[in-house]
């Protein structure tokens, strides 16, 4: 055998950074090692969006942390509001009013829908299907209009779901408006299905296959794990708020490729619409926050620790909080779903793929650098 064989092979390889100054990944980079058009190895390069929330939270009171928890993930602030609020509620042993629980679920599911729409939009953009991108972001604005009416801000609700309930009641005609918007989202979904075969199928089917065994081994959660075939959802397995009273399905797919992740996305939006309609129909009257509580109330967190986990739109989002008898938490640990999706799972999927499939694989995991770096 030629003794120089290995050196020549090495010379053919070259490296290509995917991000961080790229419209696709956004504040996140993957260092690719390529041989022609084939990816030989991929190394994730996180840390561009580290803001140190865990430390910042140790210097603030729970109501201030509620505002801060918006920023953990930019695409789904209300879901992270709920994770934080639940952690404080459980630590304080509070009974949240029933109406507040219903409002929380409605808002969280709306947030999940708009996050999934972003997922569809960015996925379309990544595979060169601009119509899908524009359609998705256009329809997302209808949900942002609702948030603007309810919380007072389009993207950031500023701790709308706060410890002890929610900060404001829904407006007078809000249930009707929400139902109208959901009809529009239904229209959007049927449009997505119409466009399905044309561009998306060719680019996503059979690309980035994640077998179930590997998915569990690498720590995938949420839609990514469900696309690989495991029927799991924290809303069913470990119900919080009012999810145990609601009737909804957990969509699963078998293959685990990019296309089945897209299918999961669309079916989950339909399930969320079902959940919101049920919650709106059964919403009781009453207080939306514990009556003795307002923004200025002085709270001392009791000594103890708590671990709360929720089904965020990207997977399992969790918070570990330790109280030490003062008004500020002693320790807050945030578990974001994107960390495991973006480092072990992404590196595994990219190895051996074609360079043209890199964006399709990357965006099919619904990544959020914000909640990964925290």
């Amino acid at each position: 055998m030629n003794p120089n064989y290995n050196t020549t092979e090495r010379e053919l390889e070259y490296s290509l950074p995917f991000g961080p100054a790229h419209p696709g990944p956004g504040n996140f980079a993957v260092k690719l090692r390529l041989d022609g058009e084939k990816v030989v190895s991929a190394k994730a390069d996180p840390g561009y969006l580290h803001r140190g929330f865990e430390k910042l939270m140790e210097y603030r009171t729970p109501i201030q942390n509620a505002v801060l928890s918006d920023r953990i993930c930019v695409f789904e602030p209300l879901n992270w509001n709920l994770v934080h609020a639940q952690a404080v509620d459980e630590l304080m042993d509070w009974n949240v009013p029933e109406r507040a629980k219903y409002i929380r679920v409605v808002m969280v599911e709306l947030s999940r829908i708009q996050s999934h729409i972003i997922w569809y939009g960015s996925m379309s953009k990544a595979i060169g299907f601009d119509t899908g991108f524009k359609l998705a972001f256009g329809y997302r604005d209808y949900i942002l209009d609702l948030f603007e009416n309810i919380t007072g801000g389009r993207v950031y609700p500023a701790g709308y779901i706060c410890p002890g309930g929610v900060r404001k009641d829904l407006g007078k005609n809000m249930p009707e408006k929400i139902r109208k918007t959901l009809n529009k989202i239904n229209d959007m979904l049927s449009k997505f299905e119409k466009f399905d075969n044309l561009s998306i199928l060719v680019r996503t089917k059979g690309v980035g296959i994640l077998p179930l065994k590997k998915a569990i081994q690498l720590g995938a959660t949420g839609p990514v794990l469900r696309a690989s075939g495991l029927k799991t959802d924290i809303r069913k397995d470990d119900p919080y708020e009012i999810y145990s009273k609601l009737d909804f399905d957990i969509p699963t797919e078998k293959l685990g490729d990019s296309y089945s992740r897209l299918l999961i996305l669309r079916r989950e939006v339909r399930e969320s619409i079902k959940i919101i309609n049920q919650a709106l129909n059964n919403m009781p009257k009453g207080n939306v926050i514990i009556p003795s509580l307002n923004s200025g109330t002085h709270i001392n967190l009791p000594k103890g620790e708590v671990y709360v986990r929720n089904e965020c739109s990207r997977g399992e989002g969790a918070m570990y909080m330790v109280g030490d008898g003062t008004e500020k938490p002693y320790r807050c640990k945030i578990r974001g779903p994107s960390l495991l999706h973006q480092i072990p799972v992404l590196e595994y999927l990219l190895k051996g793929s074609q360079i043209a499939d890199v964006p399709a694989i990357y965006w099919s995991l619904n990544p959020c650098p914000a909640d990964m770096d925290r």
Binding site: N149, G152, K194, V202
Partner: protein, 137 residues
Amino acid sequence: MIINNVKGSKKMSSQILKTIVELLKNLFQKPMTVKFPHESIPIPGGYRGEHGFDIDKCRSCGLCANICPNKAIKMVKAPEEYGEKYPRLYPQIDLGKCCFCGLCQDVCPTKAIKLTKNVFLSTFDSKEVIKNPVPKK
């Protein structure tokens, strides 16, 4: 893959037809966006925009400065020309640090601070973002 076989090409042509129908439908619809500097979408009540401050209602309790998560509110003396009429400390709001959470509005016992609908706050002058406690004109 799909385009290569006959069945696929039939599928493709039906897809193109569907797309043309969709295009014709959208041809007579209004655009989803507005041309921003000339017109903007209506802003609903309860929006968290610029602070409106009523100095006559203020009790100088300092709760707003305490609760502000970003420390954007500082209790300062009123400007000299109003010093005689308003001798106490009043909130000075730095809009550059503010995250518009509205906690100061919630916590104010006399409703002296109220967030308004004004969201057009971009400026070229960095001094303009600091709102001094002055009476309304």
